[in-house]
Symmetry: C2
Subunit: 497 residues, 2 copies
Amino acid sequence: MKDTETHIIGYENSMEGKEFFAVISPLDGQTMRFHFCNATEEEINYAAQKASIAASAYRNTKPKKKAKFLNDIAQLLEKRSEEIVTVCFLETALPEMRLQGELGRTCNQLRMFAQQIMAKNFLTEIYEEALPERVPQRPNLLRKLIGIGPVAVFGASNFPLAFSVAGGDTASALAAGCPVIVKGHPLHPKTSQLVGECIREATIKNQLPDGVFSLLHGKSNRVGQQLLLHPAIKAGAFTGSQKGGQALLQIVNQRKTPIPFFAEMGSVNPVVIMRDSLETNFAELASGILNSCTLGVGQFCTNPGLVVIEKSEVQNQFLSLIHDIVESLDSGTMLSADIANNYMDMKRKTAVQHIVKIVGKAQSKGKYAEGVPCVMACRAADLIKSPEIAEEIFGPSTMIVIAEDKNEILQVLDVIGGQLTATLFCEKENLLQHQDILDKMAEIAGRILYNSYPTGVEVGLAMQHGGPWPASSDSRFTSVGAQAIFRFLRPVVWQGF
Amino acid sequence: MKDTETHIIGYENSMEGKEFFAVISPLDGQTMRFHFCNATEEEINYAAQKASIAASAYRNTKPKKKAKFLNDIAQLLEKRSEEIVTVCFLETALPEMRLQGELGRTCNQLRMFAQQIMAKNFLTEIYEEALPERVPQRPNLLRKLIGIGPVAVFGASNFPLAFSVAGGDTASALAAGCPVIVKGHPLHPKTSQLVGECIREATIKNQLPDGVFSLLHGKSNRVGQQLLLHPAIKAGAFTGSQKGGQALLQIVNQRKTPIPFFAEMGSVNPVVIMRDSLETNFAELASGILNSCTLGVGQFCTNPGLVVIEKSEVQNQFLSLIHDIVESLDSGTMLSADIANNYMDMKRKTAVQHIVKIVGKAQSKGKYAEGVPCVMACRAADLIKSPEIAEEIFGPSTMIVIAEDKNEILQVLDVIGGQLTATLFCEKENLLQHQDILDKMAEIAGRILYNSYPTGVEVGLAMQHGGPWPASSDSRFTSVGAQAIFRFLRPVVWQGF
C-alpha cells in the first residue's frame, strides 16, 4: 500500500512532480509506505512567489502576534507528539526517548523565540535625539531591526525535529519576521510533513499571510539548488556535512544578488586532556569520552572526534581502558544505510594509514545501517604532518592523539581548522598555566569547554553554535540559541520622522 | 624632482617593487613628485604574516589600551593636519575646508570607537549561570565578542580621510581588536602615507605588536586581489563603485576559506516628492535637491541621483526652476580625469536614450577633470520598463522622474534595486497616508529620511550605512557609525569556567 504525500505551499497542497522517492527504514531496510516527490521548478517558484508576497505583511506583523504564532506551533506539535515520534523513529532509528526529548527541545526553542521577541531589551531599538543647535545639525535617528525577507531552510538529517522543519532555523527566521520555505530532509519526509502541517495550521489559525510557510520535499539536489537561486529568497540556513554546505555555498555564490547563507557544517571538536587531569581521572575520562562520542550513534555535530592527551605514565592504562570499554559496547543503528556506509568508508580510509593504530572497536552484529564504535590513535607529530587523518568521521568513532608536550598540542589545534567546540581538561589549580591553549582555542572555535564534554548544546541567550570555517560559513553568527535570530534581521534607520 | 615613497609594513618600510605610479593632480593635470610602487607579492605576504602573528596579542589587548591607541591616532592626525590637508587637496581637488571637516570627522570617528569599546553596555557580554539542579544540568556560559582576525581595508577615492587609511573601516577593525592592512587608494597615496605614518607612530608609542597596522600602495588590481586571497586575512571592507565591489567579491568567493567581505557600493538614493510637498515648497525643493546633488561635485555615495515627483500642476514651474538654477551653477573639479571621463560617458549614455530629456546643465569651462552639473528627466512609466536609465552616475547629476500616481512611485522603488537611502517629502498631515511608500522604502533601503536630504551621514550609535544588494554586499551591517564594529567581531562562549 502506497500513500502519496504532497508539498505544503502556503495554505495549499501541491503534487505536480513525477520523480518519486520513499524512505528505506534504517530499522529493517524495508521501504516505507509514504511516497514523496521532488518539488518541480514550478512548485519551487510558486512557493517563492507566495513567500515574497507574504514578506511585507509578515515583516510588519506585531511581535505579540508572531509570538502567539510560535507558541501555537509548539502547542500543535505537542498535541501530535505521539504520531510524530512514532513515524520519526521508523524513519531515523533514533530511540523514542531521544525523540521525545528532541520534540521538547523543539517546542522550547519556539517558545524561547516567542519570549525573546517580546522582551524589551533583546531586539533593542536605538534612538538618537536631534541636536538642532549642533553645527552641523544632528537629525533624530531611530534604528530598528526588520526581517531580511524569505529564508530557505534546509532540514538536517541528524536532528529530524530540533534542526528540521520547525527547528532552530525556522523558529529564528519566523521570529525575525521572515517567511520560511523548508527543503525537507529526504531521510525523514513523513516526519517533516507532520511537523509542516502543524506550522500550516498555526499560520491559518493566526490569519497570517498565505506563504509565510512552505515545505518542499526533495531527494534530488536540484530542489535545494533551484530554491537557493530564486531571486525572492533573501537568506539561507543549513545544518549538515561540509560537503553539502560547501556545495550549497557555491550555488549561493552564483546568484546575481548575493544573500547571506549560514551553513553549520560540524567539526572534530578537539578535547585536550592535560597530564594532571589524565593522571587523576583517567578512568572517568575514558568512559566520559566514549559516552559523549557514541551518544546518538555519534551523529552529533559536537561529537568529540579528536582527543589530544599529553604524554603521561598512565597513557597506556588509559588506552587499555578505552580498549576494554569500546570492545564491550553495542553497535547502533545509524540514520540510513548511506550514512552507515559512509562512516565505514571514512573509518577504513583513516585506519589504513600506517601512522594510525586501532585502539579498539565494538563487535559488529551485522545489523542494517549499523554504526560500530571504534577508537583509533596516532602521534601528534604525525597528525601535524598529515592533518587529513583528523578529518571528521560522522559516527561513533574518535581519534586519540598523543602529544609529547604542550607545543605539540598547540600545533595540533593549529592544523585542524575551524571548530564548533574545543575542550580543555586540567586540574583547577593549573588552569592559569594553560592560557596559551585557551587563546588558541578561542581563535579556532566558537565554544570552549572546561572539564566537560561538548555534546549537549544548551539553547539559551548566551549559546554560540558556529565557528571559523569550515565549522560554519560565518563565524559571526550562531545557529543555536536566541542570537540565531540575528542571521535574519537587518537594521533600518528612520531619520527625521 | 622625484620622491620615492615606501609601503608601511608593521614597524618597517619596504620598497621592493618595480611598477611605479604617481598621481596626476586633478587641479592642473600635472604629475605630482611623489612616486609609489605596486606592492609585490612578497610584500603582501610579509604584511599578512606580520598581521597574523600580531593578531593573537592584539585581540587580547585590554580595551583601555586599544582606546588609547585610537585616541593617539586622532591626536597625531590633528598634529599633522596642515600637511595632510595640503597634500590631500593637491591629490583630490577637494577644497581645504571640506578636507578639514573630513579630518575632524575622521578623528571623531576614532574617538567614538575608543569611547564605545570602553562603554559598559556597548559590547555586552552575556552570562548565564549554571543550573545544576535542572535536568539536564545547565552549565554556566559566558559569551564574549572577539576580533575576527586581520582585516583588509580598501581606501575609498571620495573620502581620502574619513573612508581611507584611518577611516571608519580601519577605526572599527582596530577597535574590534583586529590588525589592519590597508590597500591605499591610488588617487591619494601621499595622503595615505602621511596618515599611515600617524597610525604607525601610535602603534609604536603604545607598544602594540609589529603588524597591527600596514599600508600597501597599489595602482594595479593585483595588489588588492592578492591581499584578499591571502589565508591570513579574515575579513575585508571596501567603499567604492559597484563594479569594484563586485569584482572584489568574486575574488573573495574564490578563496578556499570564505571570509566576510563588506562592500559599500553606493546607490541612486531615490528622493520621492509627493504632490502636496511639491506644491507648497517647489522653490525650496529645487535648490535643496541641487545643493545635495552637487555637494562635493556629486561624489558622495548618498548623492540623490533619482528624484521621483508626483504629477502636479506646479511640475513645470519646478522643472523650469531646476533648469534656471543648474544653468547658473559652476562646474567643479572631480577627483581625477578618469572619474570625470566616466561621469561624462555615463551621462551621455543615459542622455541619448529617447525616453530621457535634459532639463538643464551648467556651462563647461574646459577645466581639467571637470564635472559639469546636469539634470535629466523621464516619465516613471518609461523608467519602469527600462530601469537601466536609473543606474548610478557618479557625479553632479540627477534624474527627475515624473510619476502619474502613487502606484507608479511604488513601481519605480521596486525596479531600482537596493539603496543606501530613500527619502520621502510630504506634508506632515498626510504622512500617515504614505505608509505603503515607507514600507517599500524599508524593504529596499538602509536609511529612510523624511523631509531632508540624504547627503551628510551622521556618525553615531544609530546610523545605518548599507542596504540591500547592490547598495552593499550584506545589508545586515553598516560601514558608518558605532555598529560598524560588528563586522569584525565574532562571539565565543566559555562554558564551565
